[in-house]
């Protein structure tokens, strides 16, 4: 069994989640603070789009932006950054597709923080910075982290957009989902079983870890 898809997938997922996590968190914070409900709704629609569109459509848009004959692609090429059909593209695809999960979870977590806690912090003289780190973040953390874990898992499983923009180059852009597809297409079922097993076990462990973490935290609050 070729181990390179496993390594490529892990590398991609780990790099992608770094960007997804902080980007999603930041954008969630900005949207929560927006005053205008209308702008909020439109922005939310755009930011959620990659999650509801077929990944191939998202991939199509990515090609449209980063394609070698498009302005952005030409510019990046001129400074020596190659995107399309390179490993970087697998990361971009994973970030774009997993971003809405992170953003929505984080936004939900922030919105669920009891407003009165924030007001209480203010009337008690706490600075906005202090309120954010000592009140809002601890309250929102479980939701933010579970969003991060979900986004990681989604990035790991990304197929459609990756195929569109990164292609399926063995040893370079062939992630686990693409390797499974290729193995099955080539009638190589044995190899496919191996990859599938790895992906299933890994995803399952992630979700269980997430639950353990969320539960542990809740218990610590109530009884510990």
């Amino acid at each position: 069994m070729d181990l390179s898809p496993i390594l490529i997938s892990m590398k991609t997922a780990c790099t992608a989640i770094f960007f997804t996590f902080f980007l999603g968190l930041l954008v969630a914070l900005i949207t929560v603070r927006l005053k205008s409900e209308k702008i909020k709704m439109v922005l939310d629609g755009i930011l959620t789009l990659p999650m509801v569109l077929p990944p191939t459509v998202a991939g199509f848009f990515l090609l449209f932006i980063f394609g070698q004959k498009r302005p952005v692609g030409i510019f990046l090429n001129s400074i020596g950054i190659k995107i399309v059909f390179n490993w970087t593209a697998t990361v971009i695809a994973a970030v774009v597709i997993a971003f809405p999960l992170m953003y929505r979870s984080a936004r939900g977590a922030f919105e669920q923080v009891d407003e009165n806690l924030i007001f209480a912090g203010r009337t008690l003289g706490m600075s906005e910075w202090e309120i954010f780190w000592r009140v809002i973040m601890p309250e929102a953390l479980p939701g933010v982290l579970s969003g991060g874990i979900l986004a990681f898992a989604r990035g790991l499983g990304e197929f459609g957009a990756t195929a569109m923009i990164a292609g399926n180059i063995a040893g370079k852009t062939r992630t686990l989902p693409l390797a499974i597809y290729s193995a099955v297409a080539g009638g190589n079922m044995e190899e496919a079983y191996g990859y599938v097993a790895i992906l299933v076990v890994f995803s399952f462990v992630i979700v269980v870890l997430m639950n353990v973490f969320a539960n542990g935290r809740r218990k610590g609050r109530k009884h510990g």
Binding site: F119, L124, R134, K222
Partner: protein
Amino acid sequence: MSLYVDIHKKLGAFSLDISFDTDREVRGILGASGCGKSMTLKCIAGIVKPDEGRIVLNDRVLFDSEKKIDLTPQQRRVGYLFQNYALFPGMTVEQNIGIGIRGAAAGQKKQKTVEMLETFDLTDLAKRYPGQLSGGQQQRVALARILAYEPEVLMLDEPFSALDTFLKEQMHFEVQKMLKVYTGDVLMVTHSRDEVYRFCDSVVIMDRGRTVEQGEMKELFAHPKTITTAKLSGCKNFSAAEKRGDHLVYAKDWNVLLQSTAVVPDAVQMVGIRAHEFVPEKTRPETNGFHLRVYDVSEGPFEVSVRMTAEGNDPEDDRRLIWWKTDSEAWKGRFRENMPEYFRAAPEAVMPLTD
């Protein structure tokens, strides 16, 4: 020590338009839910910004729409006890109390926290988290946290609404104790006349975002001038009214002419009589007499409520019933078996009311 408030705010169809001032006292803000009481406190705290007006606390302008002054909540030094206490769930009792102690050196902060823990009998709970505390304990932590902050005005938003009856009565004493220690102004928002009566020197009556009446609490409760005040102070019986003389008013719903010690205003709309004020009589009284027939009875542990139909009214009409309340001893001993037909309401008890 004084607080001056005069604010206007529009929120969709609702508009808040309230003004009052306090001077070293416990002032109640009494009104039905949704009348804008909490909104008023939030404006004073700086959580909500009024459209127009002025808020002055101890000669410090907190808000002035004309001069474009709008201090942040952090600068206002007001203590706000939230209905749900708003304790920080991720901090221990000790940390919650310490968070508001500002500017003091670390050593003093520690000392002050310990002091507050002792005052509110929380020393044993210092390391616990709010989620591990009972409602009463949570309230004590919230009070300790506010007092440790040393605010210039203390605002209590429905402080007992989250507690069950038993705890509520216990907390009445705790809060009373605290109010004795605290020297600044206190504003207590509530919909309960009972709480206003227990804690407040004076009261502002609010209805649909407006100040209806304000003044010394006992005086206002004894002689309400408006229907809202009478209702909020617990009056149960209201009848549409017509002026018939300076001290004479006709109660249309009860078909009686009533004498009142109060001057009947030209704009009188209703007349109110408290349920306790009806006195049973053996024969038809010459003035302020009622001939009533029992409609139904509700027996409580200490008090019995009887609803009655006035002479000349349809016995099935339950909109114009007269409430009479008597203690259950008297009810069991005398009235249950031998229900009086005639009642009298003293002229002092007849309250002519305007809108």
